[in-house]
Structure formats: structure tokens, C-alpha cells
């Protein structure tokens, strides 16, 4: 065991990279849930985004186009979920689970010919001046654009939800769809938009794994990140900045366990791999132990089927 082989600077810097996929997916899911829709298909949308992004990036040679394709792929898949739950009024939990299974299968099919290929490289973007700050520079300001984009998106989602009329309407729909309908808001349309947004961000998160973090395509490579994103939304009690905190906390534990493994800590690998999930469960238990508090944060219409009664 040699803990000194862990370089704290590299560790901290890699936390941001490890956290970005779950941050993107969790942020999208939070918006979907704010509109009152529970889409459990995050994992399926992430893996679909991962494969779409990878295929397009390889074929065009442009990681940027890959990300665009990943967002589109995730959004299209989520709209399938939207069609089922919003127009055909099927159960959201069952549809979401089915979406995950469908996404896993679909991505395996699409990605068959791309196993073992390397993705076109993305360049890191060093923030001018700031990147040269000692210690902080390498940790915070020498990353690829998607890392900065994801953080900017957190701020944007927060501002839209808090300060704009569109955000107010979105929250209202998630709170009481009958009242929103009575006031003349198009509940189903607003929810479809929120679902598509969630799907697009999940797709981006998936593509971040296949294009930057790994970067190649393997079947099932999201490895449960979608489920963790779902847990983080609850952990964050549906607040954007807490989603950021939750995602980084989780990313931190993941990176730490990888480093501990590499350092040869004398604990069986399976326990270390378990660590992030155990922490997630623990956090969820602690959060929900304070009954009512967490419940207060949840959109009241979450998961309920809306049917306009005329």
C-alpha cells in the first residue's frame, strides 16, 4: 500500500471530469421532475447518447457534432417516453424502466461496429490567466469545454427556475397540473418539453463518457451512472446547486476509490467499487430520515398521470 502515489492535484482535477456525466444527467432529470414527470429511463437515455455521440463523432471526426448528435439521440428517446406517458397515459415508472432496457439494447445494436475504435480527441481549454494560478489552476481551469458548459448550465437552470415566468410555469405544472390546466397552461406540451430537455442532457452526459472520459465505445459503459443521477436529484431536493454538489461528491468518491485501488489499498476491490453506491444509499437514507423535509422539496404532482377532465 502506497498512499503517497496519489497525487492530490490530479485527484481533485479528475473529480470534475468524473462528475460531469452525472451532473449533466441529474440536471436534466431535475428539470423533468420539476415538471412533475418521473422518468426512470435516465440510464437508457445516457447510453443511447453515448453511442449516438460516439458514432457521429467517429464518422464526422468532430466531437462537437458528436455532442449535438448525443443530445438529439437522448431527446428523441425521451420523447418516446413522453408519448407513452403523456399522450397514452401509461405508468411512468414502468415506462421509464422499459426505456432503460430499450436504450441498453438499442445502443448495443448501434454500437456493434464501433467497438475498439478510439474517439476523435477533444482538446482541453485552459482558461486564460486563471489556468496559471498555482494549485487552483490545474484543478479548476484546465478542462474540456463540456465541464465549463455543465457548470454554466447549472447556473442557467437555477436562474430560469427562480427568476423567469417560464420557470414559474414549469414549477406550477409540476406542483398541481389540474390547477395549471384550469388557468390555461398546456400541461402536456410543457411536460414534453421538460422531458426532451432531460433526455438531451442525459444524452450529453452519456456522450461525455464515451467521447472524453473513456474515450471509446463499450456496451453498457454508463454502468449505472443514470441511476446515480436519479438518486442525486432526490439528494439535492430538486435544487440545481445541490445537484452540482451531489454530483461532485459522488464523482469524488468514485475517483477516490479508483485511486485507492491503484495505490493497492489492502481492501478487496469489490468493496471499493461498492463505495460510491453505498454512499449514495446512505445519503438517501439520511435525507429521507428527516421525514417531511425532503417531501417538501418534491414537486407535488411528481409521477402522477395528468388527464384533462374537460
Amino acid at each position: 500500500m502506497d498512499l503517497s502515489s496519489i497525487n492530490p492535484l490530479v485527484l481533485l482535477a479528475s473529480i470534475m471530469v468524473a462528475s460531469t456525466p452525472i451532473l449533466l444527467a441529474a440536471l436534466g432529470e431535475m428539470v423533468t421532475e420539476k415538471s412533475g414527470v418521473l422518468n426512470l429511463g435516465v440510464e437508457g437515455m445516457m447510453i443511447t447518447g453515448a453511442v449516438c455521440g460516439f458514432v457521429i463523432a467517429v464518422e464526422t471526426g468532430s466531437p462537437l457534432l458528436g455532442f449535438v448528435g448525443a443530445a438529439l439521440g437522448g431527446a428523441v428517446l425521451s420523447l418516446l417516453f413522453g408519448l407513452l406517458t403523456q399522450y397514452l397515459l401509461s405508468n411512468q415508472v414502468a415506462s421509464g424502466l422499459a426505456l432503460t432496457l430499450f436504450g441498453l439494447g438499442l445502443s448495443a445494436l448501434l454500437g456493434q461496429k464501433y467497438i475498439g475504435i478510439k474517439a476523435p480527441p477533444t482538446t482541453d481549454f485552459d482558461v486564460p490567466l486563471l489556468a496559471d494560478i498555482p494549485v487552483l489552476g490545474p484543478i479548476l481551469f484546465r478542462h474540456d469545454m463540456m465541464v465549463y458548459f455543465s457548470i454554466a448550465l447549472v447556473a442557467l437552470v437555477w436562474a430560469v427556475l427562480k427568476f423567469t415566468r417560464a420557470g414559474l410555469i414549469l414549477r406550477a405544472v409540476g406542483e398541481n397540473h389540474d390547477a395549471a390546466h384550469a388557468l390555461g397552461y398546456k400541461v402536456v406540451r410543457i411536460r414534453m418539453a421538460a422531458i426532451a430537455f432531460g433526455g438531451a442532457l442525459a444524452g450529453l452526459g452519456g456522450a461525455y463518457i464515451s467521447l472524453i472520459r473513456v474515450p471509446q465505445w463499450t456496451e453498457g459503459m454508463t454502468a449505472g451512472a443514470g441511476w446515480i443521477a436519479l438518486a442525486i436529484v432526490v439528494f439535492a431536493s430538486w435544487r440545481p446547486w445541490r445537484v452540482l454538489l451531489g454530483a461532485y461528491l459522488f464523482g469524488g468518491v468514485t475517483v477516490l476509490q479508483l485511486n485507492l485501488q491503484a495505490a493497492g489499498v489492502n481492501i478487496p476491490v469489490v468493496y471499493l467499487s461498492m463505495l460510491p453506491y453505498l454512499v449514495t444509499i446512505l445519503v438517501l437514507v439520511i435525507m429521507s430520515a428527516k421525514r417531511g423535509r425532503a417531501a417538501l422539496g418534491a414537486p407535488a404532482a411528481l409521477g402522477r398521470i395528468f388527464h384533462a377532465s374537460g
Partner: protein, 507 residues
């Protein structure tokens, strides 16, 4: 009256299996307070939803100030100058007052300005409101104010109010009426939906009466008696429940210092409730919605366990028992919400009968349900309580509100309870079914059971109660003999005007 503000001409709207509105015509003049009268299911709500743009008529036309008016959505209606206060609040509990108001406006000003305007207008009309409070923390009366202020801020020419007083104390109703009279004097027309006839007689200038989707008459409500109006609405003479005087026996149910947190984050905790109920009497518990009624029912039925000694049934501690042990001992309950609480919507009447009747009617044997016996029990309920349904295999959801309510109450009454607790037994039920249900409760008491009737309908409570108490913010008042009480005293027991003041505007 030839310069009508809104003319509705032969509006028709049909839903599968029912014509909700059949060629309905009427007109409203500026400044007129016009009542729409009718029983539940007469088509009042559908009619105003068409005016407000929520529902499109199948045929017929509307004219607004002489021009054709065809609202495609509530946004169109609001732009035209029509505002509506909904029967079931169109409010969002987790949002604050200002946000709720903004959601009901077309072009709301920025939040800061809006908050100032809410303060100003609400004080002017005597309905004080704090714009930054969460709606979930407000009382039912205050929520009503939010709805009304939201409408007033848009300067409506026509204000539609769908059963606005069902959640107000008599004092609050009086203040609301003052506000409405001021508005009408300023030229705002008001379309007022209610089935409370005395209110309509004191407030409205004209009335259109609907029955089964058709206009059956128009009148000046001030020239008719409440009974005449009721018979126009129902289309038949009304039967008033009667009771035989029974001897009141020993205390069967003793609630002693019951305090309980609510299971709902926006609910009302119960605070030190004391009540003794004797065999053979009906105790009426009034109060504005949201003052602890649901919690009290849950505490008595056993859904919310409390301290063992807080509730005693014939001297035995039952506070910590669940619903089934309490049923076995003779304490039965029928909650307010028919679909989803009192009955499982997609299960048959037989299954629903078995759900609460298994223990007292011995419908199960070693864990196996005796379906034949359960079916017989369901049939007995259907027969004795005149439930209109093709048979016990129909699902609960397929019954009309009144019929399902008769079933739900009948199911408990037929189990011969020693104590029956009901919450809103006739809510949303037509007049004749309501009379049947009240009669059944009185008959049950005459046979020696104790009945606790929680209700927001004061007329109902006055009709059937021996003693009356009011819930206000989770506290129960002293009980008083119902016969000695005036409406004014009842209002004070319910908490008076809750800080409302008479409107300060000049007429």
C-alpha cells in the same frame, strides 16, 4: 337590460353518455350579480368552463359587448376581461402568494411591483394578504382571498365565482359579499354559482336555474323563498329528514387530550381535543376546510395512531389501535374523499364492501374471502340505501357521486357501529341523496349508536346534530346544544372573520 355584457345563446356541450349543457341561453348585464343555480351535475360548471375558454361548446354562440366571443383558452377569456374563482382552488401550495397570483395573470408586472400591488389591492378590499407567504401555509379562507385578489388585479368586467363560500365562515361570507357588492357597484358583472339559496337571495339580482343541463327557469331570487328555489332546482318537493327523539345513553367515545401531528406537510396538527359522545346522539363538528377535519377523522378511524389513552371506546383505550381492531370494537368511519379513500375506484362494489366489512360481517375465513357472502352484503347495501347501479360487480368509479356516497355510508351503517364517524357525508351529493344520507344517520342514532358528523355544511349540521362544536386551527371548541345556536354564534366558534375586514372602497 338591453345592453347585455355577455349573451350566451343555445350553448350545447355533450360528453359521452351525458348532455352536460343542452341549448343553454342567458345574459348578464354590466354590474349585475347573476346566479347560476342547480344541483350537482346540472351543468353549471361545464357552462362556466365554456365561458372561461376551458371547454369548447359543441354548438351555440356567445356574444361579448355585441361582438362574437369564441375563447380558445383561458388566456383569451382573461384578455377579454373575464376572471374566474374556482370551486376547487387553482392554487399551488409550494409557491408563494405572489407567484400564484402571477400565474393567473396575462401580463404580470415584475415580482416586486406585483407584491406591492397585492398588498395595496388586498387591503383596499379588506382581504389582507402577505405576498411572500407560501400558499400551503394559508387557511382555506386566505386561499380564497388569493384567488379573488388574482382576479381583481386584472380589472375584470365579468367575475365568475364557482361556489366561493363553501370554505368560509359566515362572517367571512358577509365580508366577501360586501366586496362583491362594491365590485358590482363599480360596474363589474358577477356570475355567481352556488347551491346555497339564502346567499343567492341576499346577493343576486337575477338567477338562471339549471336542471340536467337545461335551463328550467329564470327568476328574481329576492322574490322567491329558499324553498321555492330549491324545488325549482330539484324539480320535485323536498323531503326534510326527521328524527324520533331517542334517549341519550352513556358515554361511548371519550376523546381526552388528543394532540397529533398531521401526516401531510401542509396539514393541520390537532391540539388537545376533548370530546365525549354518548350513545344515541349526533355530534356535529363544523369548521372551515383545512382546520383539522381530515386529521380528526384519521385519528378516530385509526389511520393515525395516537396515545393509547387519548381515545377511549367504552372505557377501553383504543388510541394506538389501527382501523381493523377499532372496527372489531365497533368504531367505524367514512372519510370525505369517496374515490381513493373511502372506496377503491377500480374495484367492484363487492370488493369495496369486503374491504371494510370483512371483520364485522365475517366475510373471511382463515384468510380466504367468502365472495358469496361479500356479494350478499354489497347487495344489501345497494337495496337498503337505494344505490342506483346495475349490480355489485360494477366498479366504484362508475357510480355517480351521490350513489357512491350512499354506498360508502351504507356500508358502515349496515355494520351496526357503536360509533360512526363521517366526514362531509353529503359533499357533492344531490339534494335527494343528501336527504337520504342524513336520514340514515339520524336513524342510526335513534337505534342507539353515537354519530360524529364532521361537515362544512352548516345547514346540514343544524339539521341533524344534537350538539355542535367547531374545529378551528386544529382546536375543538366546547360543544353547545345545536338548537340554541344562531348562525352568528356558530361563525364565531369557527374563528370569526380570520382577520378580514369590510372593504374600504367607496361604492
Amino acid at each position: 337590460m338591453n345592453e347585455q355584457l355577455l349573451i350566451v345563446d343555445r350553448l350545447t356541450k355533450a360528453y359521452p353518455g351525458v348532455v352536460a349543457n343542452d341549448a343553454v341561453s342567458f345574459g348578464v348585464a354590466p354590474g349585475e350579480v347573476h346566479a347560476l343555480l342547480g344541483e350537482n351535475g346540472a351543468g353549471k360548471s361545464t357552462l362556466v368552463k365554456m365561458i372561461y375558454g376551458l371547454v369548447r361548446p359543441d354548438s351555440g354562440t356567445m356574444t361579448w359587448k355585441g361582438a362574437p366571443y369564441e375563447p380558445g383558452s383561458p388566456h383569451d377569456a382573461r384578455k377579454t376581461g373575464i376572471a374566474m374563482v374556482f370551486q376547487h382552488f387553482s392554487l399551488f401550495e409550494a409557491l408563494n402568494v405572489a407567484e400564484n397570483v402571477a400565474l393567473g395573470m396575462e401580463d404580470p408586472p415584475p415580482m416586486g411591483q406585483l407584491a406591492a400591488r397585492i398588498r395595496e389591492v388586498s387591503t383596499r378590499y379588506g382581504l389582507p394578504l402577505d405576498p411572500v407567504r407560501l400558499v400551503g401555509e394559508l387557511s382555506a379562507g386566505e386561499r380564497q382571498r388569493v384567488e379573488i385578489i388574482r382576479c381583481l388585479l386584472q380589472d375584470p368586467k365579468l367575475l365568475i365565482m364557482d361556489e366561493p363560500t363553501s370554505v368560509l365562515t359566515p362572517q367571512e361570507v358577509e365580508i366577501l359579499f360586501e366586496t362583491l357588492r362594491k365590485l358590482s357597484a363599480e360596474g363589474t358583472a358577477i356570475l355567481y354559482i352556488s347551491h346555497k339559496l339564502e346567499e343567492i337571495r341576499s346577493l343576486c339580482d337575477a338567477a338562471t336555474i339549471l336542471r340536467l343541463g337545461k335551463v328550467v327557469g329564470t327568476c328574481d331570487p329576492r322574490e322567491k323563498s329558499a324553498r321555492e328555489l330549491a324545488e325549482l332546482m330539484v324539480g320535485q318537493t323536498l323531503h326534510t329528514p326527521t328524527r324520533e327523539s331517542a334517549d341519550v345513553g352513556d358515554v361511548v367515545l371519550d376523546i381526552d387530550g388528543l394532540s397529533l401531528e398531521s401526516a401531510n406537510p401542509f396539514g393541520t396538527p390537532l391540539k388537545n381535543i376533548n370530546l365525549k359522545v354518548r350513545a344515541g346522539e349526533v355530534v356535529g363538528i363544523g369548521g372551515v376546510a383545512g382546520n383539522g377535519q381530515d386529521e380528526l377523522l384519521a385519528a378516530l378511524s385509526g389511520e393515525l395512531p395516537s396515545h393509547p389513552t387519548a381515545i377511549r371506546l367504552r372505557g377501553q383505550d383504543v388510541g394506538d389501535l389501527g382501523p381493523n381492531p377499532r372496527r372489531a370494537l365497533g368504531l367505524l368511519a367514512a372519510p370525505e374523499e369517496r374515490l381513493g379513500h373511502a372506496a377503491a375506484p377500480d374495484m367492484s362494489l363487492t370488493e369495496n364492501a369486503a374491504l371494510t366489512g370483512t371483520i364485522r360481517e365475517h366475510l373471511a375465513d382463515n384468510g380466504f374471502i367468502k365472495w358469496g357472502k361479500a356479494r350478499t352484503f354489497a347487495q344489501a347495501i345497494i337495496r337498503d340505501f337505494d344505490v342506483r347501479t346495475p349490480g355489485p360487480e360494477n366498479v366504484a368509479r362508475s357510480l355517480s357521486g351521490g350513489n357512491l356516497q350512499k354506498f360508502v355510508i351504507g356500508r358502515e351503517v349496515l355494520q351496526r357501529p357503536d360509533v360512526l364517524v363521517v366526514n362531509q357525508p353529503t359533499w357533492g351529493v344531490d339534494a335527494s341523496a343528501a336527504a337520504d344520507i342524513r336520514q340514515a344517520l339520524l336513524d342510526l342514532a335513534a337505534k342507539g349508536a353515537a354519530v360524529i358528523c364532521i361537515s362544512q355544511d352548516l345547514d346540514e349540521l343544524m339539521e341533524i346534530s344534537d350538539r355542535f362544536a367547531a374545529l378551528n386551527e386544529g382546536r375543538l371548541s366546547e360543544t353547545r346544544p345545536a338548537r340554541e345556536l344562531s348562525i352568528e354564534e356558530i361563525g364565531l366558534m369557527m374563528g370569526g372573520a380570520h382577520g378580514m375586514e369590510v372593504a374600504h372602497v367607496q361604492a
